[in-house]
Amino acid sequence: MATTAAPARSKSGPGADELRGYLRQLLLIRRFEERAGEMYSLGKIGGFCHLYIGQEAVAVGTIAALRPDDYVISAYREHGQALARGMSSRSVMAELFGKATGCSKGKGGSMHLFDASLGFMGGHGIVGGQIPLAAGLAFAAKYRGTDQVAACFFGEAAVNIGSFHEALNMASLWKLPVVFIIENNGYGMGTALARGSSLLDLAHRSYSYDMANEVVDGQDVLTVKTAMEMAVTRARTESKPTLLEIRTYRYVGHSMSDAAHGTYRTKEEVETYRERDPIVLLRDRMIAATQLDAAGYEALDREVKAEVDDAIQFAESSPDPDPSELWTDVYAPRS
């Protein structure tokens, strides 16, 4: 559904190792988020905490198509992208715990994960706010003549805010190397898509900006990766933006204070979506292709669970930031 000629899709399928890598990432995010939910209930994590359970394939598939020097930027539901980008479970969990060892030194929390060394430019809490920032990262890449790409994640409810409109217009006008990724999980808090957007085919909003688009099945990590590869290639080689609408679903509530179902969606609806679980889809495909067996899957699951356990221990045993940290990082040192 791309409006301009798209780069050819890569031909050779991914190998078993590669698939195992994705499966591991999907599982890691899932287990990490499950435990984060628990830790929240235990009061180890505070504030707002938005889990990514159900949407894992979006982060893993898209970020797999990026280069290490590309930029990634997201909203407040960004644990999954942080982990997929290679931030350690330890540094992310410690941040959720507000510890000095967290990726943002305990000052950012769940909504503000950062890792400059990996080009992970945050965790932003104002809906739509990161969309112009992403265009700005892409602007910088183009300005410097690097061929870096910026990947920008936001929810489907963010397409109705002014920032989306302004940033997409300028990104197209100036041919910026950025991929705008709508994670369409059907709801913005309790508001179903159709109650917030006058247009249901969100990808088509790109036509207002003469921009390419694609609608993507967000539960299949390989489909996501393929679509993202095309968009990244368009950005890297043609310096043109793309709007991807990746359709997915969150199994859990909007944040920890929101029930998974009951108010604005039914249990049945959640169950239906669970049937196309991204982990199950990939696992079964690998098993069918004899790239994995049940024992292998269990081992992998144990491995990531151990990693998350370790992250929790690490976070738990890490110190709070020194009280003096209240006053640092407001301004640059010595300025």
């Binding site: 505070g46 504030g47 707002f48 507000g98 510890k99 943002s104 305990g106 000052k107 950012g108 929390g109 769940s110 909504m111 503000h112 932003h124 809490g125 104002i126 809906v127 739509g128 409810a157 963010a158 109705n160 805010i161 002014g162 913005g188 808090m189 309790g190 508001t191 109650r195 917030g196 957007s197 108010t263 604005y264 709070d320 930031p321 009280p323 940290e325 209240l326 006053w327 407001v330």
Partner: protein, 327 residues
């Protein structure tokens, strides 16, 4: 009088005013089907229907402007910002349209609108979700700014705000929603905008506060009483217009003043109160007026750091002792 929560008090005010005046409607994110992100509008959709309780897309600038447009046509919109942090996106419509329409039109077009929602910090919401920007709104002629600290004030002032013919910025507090207090049940219980209230009388020092710092002030006064220091707690309730009479009368009596606020120090509401006091009660003052404010930093996520950043009774007590030259 019934003891109810601040949340229920707001809910009652909305319900009563919507019953009273068919031109009143509520609009905002999640106000209808979800009953409000903080449940302030619980039951209103059921009672008044989707025409009068309107869920919006995430588009603060747009729906604030739609509210202003509806007010220009004579309706009385209540626009809920899920939190006041998000109102930064809408501030052009609040300041450049709502506050200025009457003046620019030579008095022809009024703007009877209420913008409301929780302001300031809750718990560990970090920098972008923990801002107390009331001094910004108070800076702007054409706006009124109301910040109740108790359930009774919440109810009486929200009713007044809805009935007011001018745009009112009505800032609540997430941390206040569950607090309880006695609230009059009478339909005509309305607290006039522009009146501070002495929440606790005292002789030795005036402690000026508003919104969440009312509790801080009362706790500090309690602690000070243990040490024989009698603090008068003046709750501003309305930030603009400022009730200078009540403030000055108290300072004329106590000769000393400490001002508490949740927000940042530079050009905060307290700075304006200082300005008024030092100018109009100069000869009454036995010590400089001191301020206790939120730390001059973006709000950190970590619990301990956040606690240290907030205005608390201990710092209020310390400031009082300083103005009494006891420390």
């Amino acid at each position: 009088m019934a003891v109810i929560t601040y949340r229920e008090a707001l809910n009652q005010a909305l319900r009563e005013e919507m019953h009273r005046d068919p031109d009143v409607f509520l609009m905002g994110e999640e106000v209808a089907e979800y009953d409000g992100a903080y449940k302030v509008s619980r039951g209103l959709l059921k009672e008044f229907g989707a025409r009068r309780v309107v869920d919006t897309p995430i588009a603060e600038l747009g729906f604030a402007g739609i509210g202003v447009g509806a007010a220009m046509a004579g309706l009385r919109p209540v626009i809920e910002f899920m939190t006041w942090n998000f109102a930064l996106l809408a501030i052009d419509q609040v300041v450049n349209s709502a506050a200025k329409l009457r003046y620019m039109s030579g008095g022809q077009i009024g703007c009877p609108i209420v913008f409301r929602g929780p302001g300031g910090a809750a718990l560990q919401l970090a920098a972008q979700h923990s801002q107390a920007l009331e001094s910004w709104y108070a800076h702007v002629p054409g706006l009124k700014v109301v910040m109740p600290g108790t359930p009774a004030d919440a109810k009486g002032l929200l009713k007044a705000a809805i009935r007011d013919d001018d745009p009112v910025v009505f800032i609540e507090g997430e941390m206040l929603y569950n607090t309880k207090g006695e609230v009059p049940e009478a339909e005509d219980f309305v607290i006039p905008i522009g009146q501070a209230e002495v929440k606790r009388p005292g002789d030795h020092v005036t402690v000026v506060c508003h919104s969440k710092t009312v509790t801080v002030a009362l706790k500090a006064a309690e602690a000070l009483a243990q040490e024989g220091i009698s603090a008068e707690v003046v709750d501003l309730r309305t930030i603009r217009p400022l009730d200078t009479d009540t403030i000055l009368a108290s300072v004329a009596k106590t000769n000393r003043c400490v001002i508490l606020e949740e927000g940042w120090p530079y050009a905060g509401v307290g700075a304006q109160v200082v300005d008024v006091i030092q100018r109009d009660a100069f000869d009454h003052l036995d010590a400089p007026v001191l301020r206790v404010t939120g730390a001059d930093v973006p709000m950190p996520y970590n619990k301990q750091l956040e606690k240290a950043a907030k205005t608390d009774p201990a710092r209020a007590v310390a400031a009082v002792k300083r103005v009494l030259y006891l420390a």
